[in-house]
């Protein structure tokens, strides 16, 4: 089966105050059917711009976007029918009730059995009880759930979620994750979501693409990405900075990479069990105040591929010692 979404060399440039600014820079992606695909990246990386182009809200400056083979710039109306959307900011009518919002959406998409579909959608996200309350009175989590249920009411082949849990508390966030997982199981749709929460990408997505400064830095399954940078990380907290020790560790067998940061040494090793004993012989208690073993996270993946830490992505000029 062909992929659900194909992006071929997609670029978006904006003109702002006579200056050209490239928000999305030649992105090519293939998003497989029936899976949750995550676009991960810091704020301003170009995730929302990418989603906006896929959902026809923006026209790409260059490149091609195909949804199940449909060119979004040529057959816009057909493309729109295939997408369910949840934007970063709410697009609900706050003056109407939850049910009225869904009914309006169902009418816009001209679906059959409107009433039953609306009831089902409300049921699915647990809003049956509050269906006839104005949305203005909903909590942030309830609004997001209503938007998710609205996105699936016209049975789209794919659902695009732009930062679906932004601004939600941890409990609501977990709730939204459950609903997204349920969608995949019950409705057999393709989900493309953007997030700047590493944990979210790790928990939900079966494939991710890391985006930084408008470009896809790397993509793959979270496990594969983590495996690429070494299976484990040993962190040594040094009492004082010691370049010689770092140099010696770098030459050790099984050590892939050594990174020095803020007095800590990060050792990316193939197999921690085989490395740890010989490693202990290389330093004394006087040099090291602590030792930690960590399995790599997406944070480390991001760091590995972009050369800057995830939280620092907004200020990419910062140099990191290595």
């Amino acid at each position: 089966m062909p992929p659900a979404i194909i992006l071929k060399g997609v670029t978006k440039r904006f003109r702002k105050n006579k200056k050209e600014f490239t928000a999305v820079d030649n992105i090519s992606l293939e998003i497989p059917r029936g899976k949750i695909f995550g676009l991960l990246g810091p704020n301003g990386a170009g995730k929302t711009t990418t989603i906006s182009m896929i959902c026809t809200l923006l026209t790409p400056t260059k490149g091609k976007i195909l949804l199940e083979g449909i060119d979004v710039t040529k057959d816009t109306l057909e493309a729109r029918k295939r997408i369910g959307l949840v934007f970063q900011e709410t697009t609900l009518d706050l003056e109407l009730t939850g049910r009225q919002n869904l009914d309006f959406h169902a009418r816009l998409f001209k679906i059959d059995n409107r009433k039953r579909k609306v009831d089902e959608a409300l049921e699915l996200v647990g809003l049956t009880k509050d269906a006839d309350v104005t949305v203005r009175q909903y909590s942030g989590g309830m609004k997001r759930r209503l938007e998710i249920s609205r996105a699936i009411i016209h049975e789209p082949a794919m659902i695009l979620l732009d930062e679906p849990t932004l601004g939600l508390d941890p409990v609501s966030r977990r709730g939204i994750w459950e609903y997204i997982n349920m969608l995949i199981e019950r409705k057999n749709v393709t989900v493309l979501l953007t997030t700047h929460y590493l944990e979210e990408a790790e928990r939900l997505c079966s494939r991710i693409a890391i985006i930084d400064k408008g470009k896809v830095v790397v993509q793959g399954t979270p496990e594969a990405l983590k495996a690429k940078i070494g299976n484990d990380i040993i962190i040594l907290s040094l009492k004082r900075d010691d370049p010689k020790l770092a140099a010696r560790l770098r030459e050790m067998k099984g050590v892939k990479r050594v990174v020095r940061e803020n007095g800590d040494l990060f050792l990316y090793v193939k197999d921690v069990d085989k490395t740890i004993v010989p490693l202990m012989k290389l330093f004394s208690e006087a040099q090291v105040s602590g030792l930690q073993i960590k399995r790599p996270s997406l944070d480390d993946v991001f760091f590995h591929y972009t050369g800057h830490k995830y939280e620092d992505a907004a200020e990419p000029e910062r140099k990191v010692n290595a």
Partner: protein, 250 residues
């Protein structure tokens, strides 16, 4: 066919919103009534229009036009609000034509205006010479006006993001035009240069047609006002649809 269905959907939402907002609705009926009574009886003795017409007849037929026009512009203002609060995106990414989005706004507004006109004319007919005898012409003028003003509102909203600027334009361009359109005083008494402005002012023809329908009075041949209004409202409609597609997406 789909155009009609989509327009109906958009219209339905406007009506649901009105129904949920009783205070707004009440104000829509009370405010024009209050102004007409205050102006009509306040200026009634000071202004002598001659020709067997009292000022209350004149101002009530005129101010209803003011009310319809303002309400129509409010439709455009509404788009700025809906863009700012995010709701517009839901409509823009739906598989519906841009024309139906604007037609829905027009239809919603026209429904409210029709209700307003019926209630106001019936209530005012107890104290002025208004009637709904020529209701088909009343309805025609009301629809043409609503199309014209909602679309002017959309065009303004296409170029400006902020509610404040919209209000400024409304205050600096639209209100002055209303004053020299025969709403508050007859234009035949204006100085010549103002008279000429009032003849290129579309509101003048809306007032002409509406006043003819409820009061049976007109200063220009009715076919001229009607033709001008039809041409103006259809061309602003197509312009607003075209602009909406270009300006509201990015």
């Amino acid at each position: 066919m789909t155009l009609l269905i989509d327009t109906y959907t958009m219209w339905l939402r406007e009506i649901l919103r009105y129904k949920r907002n009783w205070r707004y609705l009440g104000f829509q009926f009370l405010f024009p009534f209050m102004i007409i009574v205050l102006l009509g009886f306040g200026f009634g003795d000071l202004i002598n229009l001659g020709q067997n017409i009292s000022y209350i007849d004149f101002i009530s037929s005129g101010f209803i036009v003011f009310m319809i026009a303002n309400g129509g512009l409010g439709g455009g203002f509404n788009l700025i609000e809906e863009r700012n609060n995010g709701f517009l995106r839901e409509v823009i990414v739906a598989p519906v034509s841009r024309a139906s989005i604007i037609l829905g706004k027009i239809a919603g507004r026209a429904t409210l205006s029709t209700a307003q006109v019926i209630v106001l004319v019936l209530v005012l007919s107890t104290m002025a010479n208004l009637s709904l005898r020529n209701f088909h012409i009343t309805l025609l003028s009301l629809i043409l006006m609503t199309v014209l003003f909602v679309c002017v509102g959309v065009i303004i909203a296409a170029y400006f993001q902020e509610a404040e600027i919209y209000r400024t334009i409304q205050g600096m361009v639209v209100f002055p035009l209303m004053f020299i359109s025969g709403i508050f005083f007859p234009i035949d008494r204006l100085p010549l240069w103002l008279k000429w402005i009032s003849y290129v002012n579309p509101i003048t023809y809306a007032v002409e047609l509406f006043r003819f329908s409820v009061l049976g009075r007109n200063t220009l041949p009715i076919w001229i006002s009607t033709t001008l209004l039809v041409v103006l409202s259809t061309s602003t409609f197509f312009l607003s649809v075209w602009l909406f597609d270009r300006k509201f997406r990015e």
